[in-house]
Symmetry: C2
Subunit: 285 residues, 2 copies
């Protein structure tokens, strides 16, 4: 890998650039994306060497060994579509999208054939409360889990092996899993918590926004259970859109569970729920 193009230099994309440099990558790091301001910040931070307007990115992509697609899932899919015809089997495209099944369907159609580029679907479980190149860090992936959901069973190409090597150098742990399983697990451990925090925050905004006592009374439990209510729709729209069925399943299961708990506030059924919940926490402590 002598040249990498990072498409989308927000928090994750720019952090990858910084992590490459910090871990000894001496090749060229180019950047492109929809927003010139973001690209300039990424360049000032040292995350990319050169930046290219989205309209000029085709030639840069064609001349890169690795293309990393960062940003919301549907934007990643747009770039997969756009770049596929320009690239060849000696090149690797990889991504950092939050959902993987939808992306893998596209990858199967557009990549990993004899005369197309290779595609390695990835998902670093890292982030911050706010995004943006300004908050990027070379150490963002240290001790984080970087998941891969490869679509082909064959041996990895040399570039794919090299990319996995860089991810390991970033300090991330890696795991390969099936794309559908990835999306199902992420629905439970990430998307469900987000949707619950959003629903609870929205409900409280409607019911109590004007209650002067609220700020006085609300403590850590409230803060913690609604913190994710601040998450931006712009990112979650694509996750909800591309993982709707697994998310709907988890929401439906929780609705039923809450109804069960509600019907058992005064019965020993409540004890059983607390016992199961205690057990879940104990396993994790």
């Amino acid at each position: 890998m002598k040249r990498i193009l990072i498409v989308g230099t927000g928090l994750i994309g720019a952090s990858v650039g910084l992590a490459l440099r910090a871990n000894g990558f001496t090749g060229e790091i180019a950047g492109t994306g929809p927003n010139a301001e973001t690209l300039k910040i990424a360049q000032e931070r040292g995350a990319i060497d050169t930046w290219h307007a989205s309209a000029d990115a085709d030639a840069v992509a064609a001349a890169s060994d690795v293309i990393l697609l960062a940003g919301p899932v549907l934007a990643i899919e747009d770039w997969m579509q756009r770049l596929a015809p320009l690239l060849g089997p000696h090149q690797l495209v990889t991504d950092v999208g939050s959902t993987k099944f939808h992306i893998c369907v596209h990858a199967h159609r557009l990549y990993n054939a004899l005369n197309t580029a290779r595609f390695l679907p990835g998902h670093p479980m890292a982030g911050k409360e706010s995004g943006g190149a300004a908050l990027a860090e070379a150490t963002l992936f240290q001790n984080a889990m970087w998941l891969f959901t490869p679509t082909n069973d064959g041996t990895p190409s040399p570039l794919e092996a090299e990319w996995r090597g860089w991810v390991a150098k970033f300090g991330a742990r890696t795991m390969d899993l099936d794309a559908a399983r990835h999306d199902e697990l992420c629905a439970w451990v990430s998307h469900l918590p987000q949707m619950v925090a959003t629903a609870m925050s929205a409900l409280l905004e409607e019911k109590l926004a004007d209650a002067p006592e609220l700020n006085a009374i609300g403590g850590r439990a409230l803060r913690e259970m609604t913190r994710l209510g601040a998450s931006p729709y712009s990112m979650w729209r694509d996750i909800a859109m591309t993982n709707a069925d697994p998310i709907a399943d988890t929401l439906h299961a929780l609705e039923q569970r809450l109804a069960h708990l509600r019907e058992n506030l005064k019965t020993p059924g409540l004890r059983d729920e607390f016992a199961l919940a205690n057990q879940f926490r104990k396993r994790r402590d």
Copy 2:
């Protein structure tokens, strides 16, 4: 106030004893409760001067100016019942129970009459992840909110005014509100978050307990949204029992909200939910 009896010397009761001493109280602090071990720890920590087995507590209560009832709500109500016939109008009973309407119904029946003791219902919004006298601290109430839900409109008795003075010396802010309103607000900002964390933890324990990937994938969102799953049933049983209707209302509202969100994962309705949730968080930051 020359002598106070603290009934129940767990985290809150023992912290009150330590806070009294730290803020210059020179009278006697007696302690009683169901558990001799807890009482001994409270005494060793300096939270109480003397401890008395529950069976011997009547005489100590009769000879105290203020009796503070700490512990789960139903235990507080048992003590209210037991002590009322032993006490007179020159004495003050106050409590730290988590729900207030149920307690106020008892207070109205048993206290605040011409020939009975006064009762001032209180609720310090303070705590820790674990309870017990060993974790008690004189500073537990600093900057915490200590709510009162007085049942009588008359002027406070001198002892009541003195007790409010001690609470202020502990560093707590205070607010008076209607008992039913207290319970409704606490259902929204404290009991609903707890029940949601319990339901989500119990659900995950059933669905994913054996998934080896879970510990690898679950991040801050999962930890945060299930932390309260570790809360003990022993405390929450009484809260659920004595505030069942308001809690059921909040749970039912959230169930409907989650169903609405589930049906709008791919529509602009999701954007509206995120906008409301963002607004709620913004008000609080």
